[in-house]
Symmetry: C2
Subunit: 394 residues, 2 copies
């Protein structure tokens, strides 16, 4: 169970026909009753049509469901694209009997610059609406996939005054992943809960969770036009989570788990890389330094090769817009210190052995200038990534 694990949520995934493969490609998720909502979207200056349509709806703070089409991103499609997104939402809202079409959110992922085939979408929505069920979560999670090798879901439950509150989510994303979202990201994340929560409480939870989840991952350094995270609460179990740190923690855990799965499924990737920057002079510096290492294709290629190449880590730090002093800089790979202040430790073979042991590859950079830290997740860069993206049109 994932997106329908919380009480009062139903889902469906159908084959509308927007994926050339003929796989499931249209998801619909609705609550039995009105729900509150908060979201976060891409900071791209060319946001997709669905981002344009959803922003004011999410700002309203209420929604009752969402529909997602995969195969076509409906991005860079001009005013016609916005109309198509609005039409898709209106059609779905009507089929689900919503009192206001504004309560239906809409998302899309796939090729940029192609129009949505509305006849195909409308037919698919009708089929989805008639097949909504509490066990439709797996079909829905499969329908939103594009280059994803597997579906990504997560569920957490917490106890709120004796009542079990459930937070369940699904995500898609394997390429064009380098989200920098602000609350108000082709990463699509949908989380539902049966808690009672105002839009403000939901927004605070997303704001707390983003730096520890989707804003701390990258596959290819390419931020999508369509990145979006949605968190909806329908209050079905009656437990109010205002002021609950357990709720914020549960949302953070679900988002962090889904974010890890996105990186682990990064196009062509064989392993996750954890870039851990410590000792930075400021939080901004810790973030920027970690991001620069995580987006370096030289570092990511080296990890693919099992090479604890600390020179490339130093190179990446050198171009990061952060306060840096080579004399206090300490670099490690796989927990093995390789260099400090310009003095090599000669422990390269040991680090190579640590890498060869498998699991997540850990890169450590202690700037030695302060107490700020940040962990950024990425994946190794492989020849398969390039082959895949030379052949696949996004």
């Amino acid at each position: 169970m994932s997106i329908t694990a919380a009480k009062g949520w139903k889902a469906a995934g159908v084959r509308a026909g927007t994926k050339p493969s003929g796989d499931l490609d249209l998801a619909l998720v609705v609550s039995d009753s009105p729900a509150t909502v908060a979201g976060a979207f891409t900071t791209s200056s060319v946001p997709s049509a669905h981002v344009i349509v959803d922003r004011p709806r999410v700002s309203n703070g209420h929604a009752q469901g969402f529909c997602v089409t995969a195969g076509i991103a409906n991005a860079f499609t001009g005013p016609e694209g916005v109309k198509a997104a609005e039409h898709m939402a209106a059609t779905a809202a009507q089929l689900c009997g919503f009192s206001s079409e504004q309560d239906m959110l809409v998302a899309a992922t796939g090729t940029i610059g192609e129009p949505l085939p509305m006849d195909v979408i409308s037919k698919g929505l009708a089929e989805a609406a008639s097949s909504l069920s509490e066990t439709g979560d797996e079909d829905a999670a499969n329908a939103i996939r594009t280059t994803d090798a597997y579906l990504k879901t997560c569920v957490r439950t917490i106890d709120v005054g004796g009542v079990t509150v459930t937070v369940g989510g699904m995500a898609k994303g394997a390429g064009m992943i380098a989200p920098r979202m602000v609350p108000q990201a082709t990463l699509l994340v949908f989380i539902t809960t049966d808690a009672v929560a105002s839009a403000d409480v939901l927004r605070d939870a997303i704001t707390a969770a983003l730096p520890k989840s989707f804003n701390a991952i990258t596959v290819d350094g390419c931020m999508s036009t369509s990145d979006s995270v949605f968190l909806l609460a329908n209050g079905a179990v009656g437990a109010d989570v205002a002021g609950s740190t357990a709720f914020v923690d549960a949302v953070t855990e679900v988002m962090a788990d889904l974010a890890y799965k996105v990186v682990a499924d990064g196009e062509g990737a064989t392993r996750v890389i954890r870039v851990q920057v410590t000792g930075a002079a400021s939080d901004d510096d810790a973030y920027a330094a970690a991001r620069e290492i995580a987006t370096s294709i030289l570092v990511r290629s080296a990890i693919y090769g099992g090479d604890p190449n600390y020179g490339r880590i130093v190179q990446a730090l050198g171009q990061a817009p952060v306060k840096l002093d080579p004399a206090t800089l300490r670099i490690s790979v796989g927990g093995v210190e390789l260099g400090y202040g310009g003095n090599g430790t000669g422990r390269g073979a040991e680090a190579a052995k640590a890498l060869a042991a498998g699991g997540d590859a850990v890169i450590g950079a202690d700037l030695g200038l302060g107490s700020s830290s940040f962990e950024y997740l990425t994946c190794d860069l492989t020849p398969e990534y390039v082959k895949f993206n030379a052949e696949y049109t996004t």
Copy 2:
């Protein structure tokens, strides 16, 4: 002829033993008489030892030669690394009979984080000093190569008041290439001339040439700790080039030619990509937009696949820190317009045919917001790049 094409310059390239391959790895180039100098260095906050040593020497405005070791970058090597660079320069200056060791510049390229073997270098310098000749330019250009598939040289001559002035250069670089140099990049570029020119005249020429050459190229988005450009003038032909636009043009042509050769030789690359941004609101915007497209591994993979994927170009622009309006944005590949203001032209097959014809791949992005433009050169990203960098330790 290249670095010794100008009158009064001699060069040598020898096998000192810093390259595991046993190829030529130490270059020495000197003028028969004192010369003026200007240079530009990496903006990395972890500059290599040679950059630290050369900066004040270049600021002095005079020099008479330079020595270059390849295989070890002498970067992130602490105070010992700086001492080694100073010792290398002092040894070379003494061997060449310079009155001041400050007149010898020093450069290094190769693995970061390893100490220079001074005994090997000293022996190599002695051999190089005894074999300096006017025909040693090819050995010198070969000695500075690391991952370069071929040597990179260029010569231009201009007429100054009836006197032929020669500008000749050599460069190395195929990976870790994304220079952002400021006058005062492991790209190493050496240019000699026999013109009479003050350090100021040389500095002005480099400042004019950089935005049209090395600061407008990238292979992998990774700026080296060691990038350096040097321009030396020994006045051997007696013609003063103060105020000569022909001289600035000749320096620019030599630097642009060498920069193109670096990109064309980009690790694993099969073709050059020319990213041409026009209609930007400002020069800074034109540069930033072009750079964002040129460093996108999704765009570079698509070009390798012969795919005129304009969605990825839109994606890259969307994350560029520039003024952008999707309504006025026009994208072309191979000279074929693919999208304007969110309306696809349906000419993808035509663009694919243009790409398949070979030659440089041209990406055009007209932002439609102003009159600023910038051309940024990069190369396609191939599986061979990743394989190469998974195996090679830089």
